[in-house]
């Protein structure tokens, strides 16, 4: 593998930490408002599981409706 393929430890740590923050932890039924650039996009008042994108992609590929 070349230098471009080698991981930066700092970048890996940040990616893994954010992945765990949204992919791990205690899951509680609640409400969430997701906004981008200050605009509310959706309000969900049901049990919601937020997952890393690659997990969602895999779930979709497997035909499941939620991660």
């Amino acid at each position: 593998m070349n230098d471009a393929e080698r991981w930066s430890k700092q970048e890996v740590a940040l990616v893994d930490l954010i992945d765990r923050v949204i992919g791990g932890g205690v899951v509680i039924a609640g409400e969430v408002v997701i906004g981008v650039a200050g605009v509310d996009l959706v309000y969900l008042g049901l049990q919601l599981v937020l997952a890393p994108a690659h997990e969602v992609e895999e779930s979709v590929a497997l035909g499941r409706r939620s991660p």
Partner: protein, 216 residues
């Protein structure tokens, strides 16, 4: 709205630091556990920046108490809703806090020379399926090999999804992290074109829920 950060022991105190929305962190207590929360405006964005700040706050919390991080972004409408949720789960959460006391999470990423990205290639049909099967076998063998190398220090191991190589979340005591890192370094140096990175330690994000209790 109340943004939930982490479940903590019932005798813990809320740190004197602002939360994600710049407001004071509060603690809502029950007999066996408590929850650190922040009253937030109704609009909460959940970008990588907010997730990173949330992680920083939870990591700081973990320096003074055992924590079960709450998945970001979880919000409940009122303090009484948080208390109701806490009272419904306090026994299980209190037990898990005791189980995880003094333990942290590290994540091991490992890849090797022929580790292929987990995405469709231009090949099709039998050759693609054969290459995918070989890649899966290589991954499983690597998971088994590395799990064996760290079994003396990792109390629990979870295989995380990875688009290239493998990722393992490991539950470890602080004193066990240096020997675990040395074992991973030896694995990397045992063959050409291997790479491994150990990230953390962090609060036990991947181990907040006792899967055996969930499935019991």
């Amino acid at each position: 709205m109340m943004l939930l950060y982490a479940v903590v022991p019932s005798d813990a105190t809320a740190p004197d630091v602002p939360g994600l929305a710049g407001r004071p962190l509060e603690i809502i207590r029950a007999a066996a556990a408590a929850v650190i929360v922040e009253e937030c405006p109704d609009r909460l964005s959940a970008t990588n920046h907010e997730a990173g700040t949330f992680a920083e706050i939870v990591c700081n919390l973990a320096e003074s108490a055992s924590v079960l991080p709450v998945r970001f972004p979880t919000v409940l409408t009122t303090r009484s809703a948080v208390l109701a949720e806490l009272q419904a789960h306090e026994r299980v959460w209190g037990q898990r806090l005791r189980d995880l006391s003094g333990l942290s999470e590290v994540v091991i990423r490992a890849q090797w020379a022929d580790a292929e990205p987990d995405s469709p290639s231009s090949a099709s049909g039998t050759s693609y399926l054969l290459s995918r099967a070989a890649a899966m076998q290589q991954r499983e063998a690597s998971v088994a090999e590395i799990s064996g190398l760290i079994r003396d220090w990792a109390r629990e191991i979870k295989v995380l999804r990875s688009q290239q190589g493998i990722r393992l979340a490991c539950l470890v005591a602080g004193t066990d992290i240096p020997p675990l890192e040395r074992a991973i370094l030896r694995w990397q140096e045992a063959a050409d074109r291997r790479q491994a990175v150990v990230s953390g330690p962090w609060p036990p994000f991947s181990f907040a829920v006792d899967q055996e209790a969930v499935h019991a």
